[in-house]
């Protein structure tokens, strides 16, 4: 897209420059060349393939066709933290705050909602963003191909603590993942909540 945009931009600028360097240079070019050529044919040539690729890749991101039923994790955003619940953990439900543990190499389905205002869940290196809206549950599938630590932020303005509403995603290999979950508290309210990555909220 960037290359295409640069070419189109250069084209427009070159035409403008030409108009000033060589006055009346285009006086014999038929009007229709500009209007039908530039206004209809050019956008059609550029936009049609772009749209098709966009829909195809968007679908791929949404569906992950052919993969096994992904692991479900529930995320509730609130001013100004992220509560994470793991209903499918092996020894009963587990919870964490501002820290999301996922297994690497397999897709995870996040079910995201909000307890107060609208927030938006975004881990730039793993997936696009999805809003956390009170009264609605949005799903986002993401997959970390390699274990590691990924930073996440709240992308929708949500009040005074918006700038500090960050979180961390830790992707573990499958063996370490179960062990990690077992070490978590069984709900976000009791036990020492894991808030390692929380920025000091102002």
């Amino acid at each position: 897209m960037l290359a295409g945009a640069l070419v189109l931009f250069a084209l427009v600028m070159a035409l403008l420059a030409w108009a000033f360097v060589k006055p009346a240079a285009g006086s014999r070019i038929p009007v229709r060349f500009w209007l039908a050529g530039g206004g209809l044919v050019l956008p059609a040539l550029v936009l049609t393939p772009l749209i098709l690729v966009a829909i195809w890749s968007g679908d791929r991101l949404v569906l992950h066709a052919g993969t096994e039923v992904p692991l479900r994790i529930e995320i509730t955003a609130r001013q100004w933290q992220w509560d994470v619940a793991y209903p499918d953990a092996e020894d009963g439900p587990r919870a964490s705050v501002n820290l999301l543990h996922i297994p690497a190499g397999r897709p995870v389905e996040l079910r995201i909602t909000s307890a107060d205002v609208i927030h938006s869940f975004w881990v730039p290196r793993l997936a696009g963003k999805i809003d956390a809206i009170p009264g609605h549950i949005n799903t986002l599938r993401l997959e970390a191909t390699v274990p590691g630590i990924y930073r996440g932020v709240c992308a929708e303005f949500c009040g005074g603590g918006h700038a500090g509403m960050n979180f961390t995603v830790e992707a573990h290999d499958v063996a370490a993942y179960a062990a990690q979950l077992a070490r978590l508290a069984d709900s976000a309210d009791d036990g020492p909540a894991d808030t390692r990555s929380a920025e000091a909220a102002p």
């Binding site: 403008l16 285009g26 070019i29 963003k129 799903t139 303005f157």
Partner: protein
């Protein structure tokens, strides 16, 4: 062209004619200026006030950039910062961009069209005062430290009472709604002026392109603003009285606000861009010394753009969880706007290439427009691509994109327009000493600020964060943006200085310094209060090219209406399509009434803001009463028949013309009204289908007898309203007043029914369903109440001698109101009865 053998009654010398005209059209100095309704004065006020708000918005932007220049800056905390960016967006959108082009349109339109003023000068003045007072309310809140702080699109529940308990959000909802009165009134006025107040002979296809652009823009405003105004009223009602339209725990939905907001918000972008594009299409061919290519293509493209723009609002909501198939539709529609935009861009390029362009200062700014706007358009196509949008939505990439579109698509063309039309405002020669360095400061500063901001966003910086960590990797990019921002600010300071110096000290020059072909340059410069001493007739799109000395001929009184009749302010009205003369329009003299009405309207909004709910209805009634007072000086008490207009021709006065501007204005007002009503209906249906916690705990079953009473009353009122306006009834005082009395009775019956139904609605604070039903009933009931008022007004006008078989205007203009109320009645009752059945099954 003008006929030099004109035979006006007693053609005086140009100077005497000027004195006679100025005596009736002019506005005396001093305190009398408060009475100004003339478009020259009101238009200039809009422009200057908008520029002052632009400066305020610019200072806010500088404070934002100061805060973001360094990581962990201690300059402003989140409480202050959130007010800064919310107000920056609000001020630039609502207090700068829209009023700026409204002012330019008011000033220029009558001149471009060959008329003496806008169709409703007092409405212009009223709109201006509403804009000034509403804007002042918003700015005052900034100084009081309680400015809106939920972002300029006010997403709820953040803007709800729970999460914004102070008056910050109320200031936004009430202040912006107050200001938007001026946008709606300007929309109606611009449409009627363009369609009816043109020079004789100027058929639609001979209209200057600028008028086409403004016509389309005004229609977009007419349909774009009602959803926002309705949404603001609903949100304010939720905040003030707890009606849960947007509260998901009680059957509301925050997404409803987003739909209503962007239903306005996306067309808004084109509402801002199109007038600027109109300025480009006007200035560019003049400086290219060639007629623009593809007039018809451009008109079709602009109309297409307007339609498309109402179908894309969802592209602001790609991340709210809408199914991908629907997103694909809105994504394609969003990229499709590239087509009409490209047609315009290539029409301009083709015109430049075919012409011999001069690199004068306005052209420099137009080139700035091209380079900046094309980048904004290209990133716009990128943003329409859903997977890309998911990544960059709500980041600084979007901030960069929208500034490229709005500064490129509006500010640069407006700067070009300022340099192009300044000689018209001042009558002084254009000078370039400061214009060129100003351009480079603004242009380089702008790109420095916003080009790098694309990368800031791609690197993951969300928008609206008041601070960021030093290790985030955005430090240098932000510092560069801040430096660029301050450079741009200096450029704008220099621009203001340049405008002031040229207006104050420039040397007097001849009219039409650019050899422009349009009628605006046929007035003397600076223009007299009446624009043209006599009105031109037009035979093609370039009247000044065909008759270069047209201005002199008109000043000598060689056109139409080159005289003053009985101290009246007169201009010509024409047939919408053909441009044939069909009436003489009498315009109002200076009066304090618009200011008085705006003060009463302002009291209403202030009372709501401070929760003085006993005072609010009093202020509301006062506002309506003062608005009705306006009619005391309009209309005629005797039939006159056709009056002379010069050239041996005659036309009916508007009070006797079936094509009077007021009747079209009523139709347009009802179209806006219907849009607001349909937005409310959409809200109810949307909540039903989408909102959580449905079905409601308690359904509302309206009584059959009461519903029948409402229908009966509305049908009687509608029929009686129609009957009163028929020629047979108009001829007899008792007959027309009898029908109007019946219309009062009908509306009264309906009103009783609505009040009974309202009393039976379950507690509207408990559920979104009851709240929506309550709102629908109130909306319809208000129409019945106004129906009573309007019919009573008709009787009063009839008794005062303003109505006859020929002078039908006062009765005919209000007849559609009762029919419209009947339509509302039908839809409201259908919904109230149908919805419980649909939900019960």
């Amino acid at each position: 062209m003008t006929d030099s053998r004109a035979t006006n009654p007693s053609p005086p010398s140009p100077l005497r004619l000027h004195k006679q005209l100025d005596a009736v059209w002019g506005t005396p100095p001093g305190w009398e200026r408060l009475k100004a309704v003339n478009h020259n004065i009101v238009g200039r006020r809009f422009i200057v006030t908008a520029f002052v708000f632009f400066a305020i918005g610019g200072v806010l932007a500088m404070l934002i950039r100061a805060q973001l220049a360094t990581p962990r800056s201690a300059f402003a905390g989140p409480e202050i910062y959130n007010q800064l960016f919310t107000m920056h967006g609000t001020v630039m959108m609502f207090l700068f961009a829209i009023p700026m082009f409204e002012g330019l349109a008011m000033y220029l339109l009558p001149k471009l069209l060959g008329a003496r003023d806008m169709a409703f000068p007092r409405l212009s003045a009223y709109g201006y005062w509403c804009y000034l007072f509403g804007g002042a309310m918003l700015i005052a809140s900034l100084f009081a430290g309680v400015a809106p702080d939920s972002g300029w699109f006010m997403y709820t529940p953040l803007s709800s009472r729970t999460h914004t308990p102070g008056i910050n959000a109320d200031v936004w909802l009430l202040g912006v709604t107050f200001v938007e009165i001026s946008a709606l009134s300007a929309a109606i006025e611009i449409i009627v002026t363009i369609l009816k107040l043109r020079a004789p002979g100027m058929s639609l296809d001979k209209m200057p392109l600028f008028a086409w652009y403004l016509l389309v823009t005004a229609f977009m405003m007419l349909f774009g603003f009602p959803p926002l105004i309705l949404g603001s009223i609903l949100l304010e009602t939720e905040r003030a009285f707890g009606f849960p339209f947007f509260d998901p725990t009680r059957g509301g939905d925050p997404l409803l606000w987003q739909h209503l907001f962007w239903l306005f918000g996306h067309p808004e972008v084109y509402i801002i861009f199109l007038p600027a594009a109109g300025a480009v299409s006007t200035i560019l061919p003049v400086l290219a010394r060639r007629e623009i290519i593809g007039y018809t293509w451009i008109v079709v493209a602009v109309v297409a753009l307007a339609f498309l723009s109402f179908g894309l609002w969802v592209h602001h909501m790609f991340t709210v969880g809408i199914p991908h198939l629907a997103l694909a539709f809105f994504s394609s529609a969003s990229t499709a706007v590239a087509v009409p935009t490209a047609i315009q861009i290539f029409a301009w390029i083709g015109t430049l290439m075919a012409g011999r362009p001069q690199l004068k200062v306005p052209m420099l700014y137009l080139l700035g427009f091209f380079s900046v706007f094309v980048v904004g358009g290209l990133t716009g196509v990128m943003l329409a691509i859903v997977p890309f949008n998911w990544q960059v939505h709500d980041t600084h990439f979007v901030v960069a994109h929208l500034h490229y579109v709005l500064v490129g698509g509006f500010v640069f063309p407006m700067l070009a327009a300022a340099y192009y039309w300044l000689p018209h405002f001042t009558g002084r020669r254009p000078r370039y000493d400061l214009g060129v360095p100003t351009f480079w400061l603004i242009f380089i500063g702008f790109n420095l600020t916003f080009l790098v901001m694309h990368w800031t966003g791609l690197m993951g910086m969300p928008r609206r964060v008041y601070t960021y960590a030093p290790d985030a990797g955005w430090t240098w990019l932000n510092l560069v943006s801040s430096i660029g921002g301050f450079m741009m600010a200096m450029g704008f300071a220099l621009f203001a200085a340049d405008m002031f110096l040229q207006a104050r000290f420039g040397r007097r020059g001849a009219r039409n310094p650019w050899n422009a072909p349009t009628l605006d340059w046929a007035t003397p410069t600076p223009p007299p209060s009446y624009n043209f001493a006599s009105l031109p007739s037009v035979a093609d799109r370039a009247p000044l090219a065909a008759t270069p000395d047209l201005g002199v001929k008109l000043a000598a009184g060689n056109g139409y209406l080159g005289f003053v009749r009985d101290g009246r302010l007169e201009t010509l009205g024409v047939d919408m399509v053909s441009g044939r003369i069909n009436q003489v329009i009498r315009l109002p003299s200076p009066t304090l009434l618009p200011l008085v009405s705006a003060l009463a309207t302002g009291s209403f909004f202030v009372a709501l803001l401070f929760k003085l709910y006993t005072l609010a209805p009093i202020a509301f009634v006062a506002a309506i009463a003062t608005l009705l007072l306006w009619t005391r000086t309009t209309g005629a008490r005797a039939d006159s028949g056709p009056v002379a207009i010069g050239h041996g021709e005659a036309a009916l006065p508007q009070s006797e013309s079936p094509a009077a501007p007021a009747r079209q204005a009523m139709g347009l007002a009802l179209a806006a009204d219907a849009t607001a009503y349909l937005s409310l209906v959409f809200g109810l249906l949307f909540l039903w289908v989408v909102a959580p916690n449905w079905p409601p705990p308690e359904l509302f079953q309206p009584g059959i007898a009461v519903s029948a009473l409402a229908i009966l009353g509305s049908v009687v009122a509608a029929l009686a309203g129609q009957q009163a306006a028929l020629p047979g009834s108009l001829a007899s005082g008792t007959r027309r007043e009898g029908w109007l009395a019946l219309a009062i009775a009908g509306n009264g019956l309906a009103l009783i029914a609505w009040v009974l139904l309202l009393a039976a609605v379950p507690d509207p604070a408990r559920h979104g369903y009851a709240a929506s039903v309550f709102a629908l009933l109130t909306y319809t009931a208000l129409h019945a109440a106004f129906g009573i008022l309007f019919a009573a007004y008709g009787i009063r006008r009839s008794r005062s001698g303003f109505v006859s078989a020929a002078r039908a205007l006062d009765i005919a203009v209000l007849a559609p109101w009762h029919s419209f109320t009947l339509a509302l009645t039908g839809v409201t009752l259908l919904l109230l009865h149908g919805l419980p059945m649909a939900m019960g099954s």
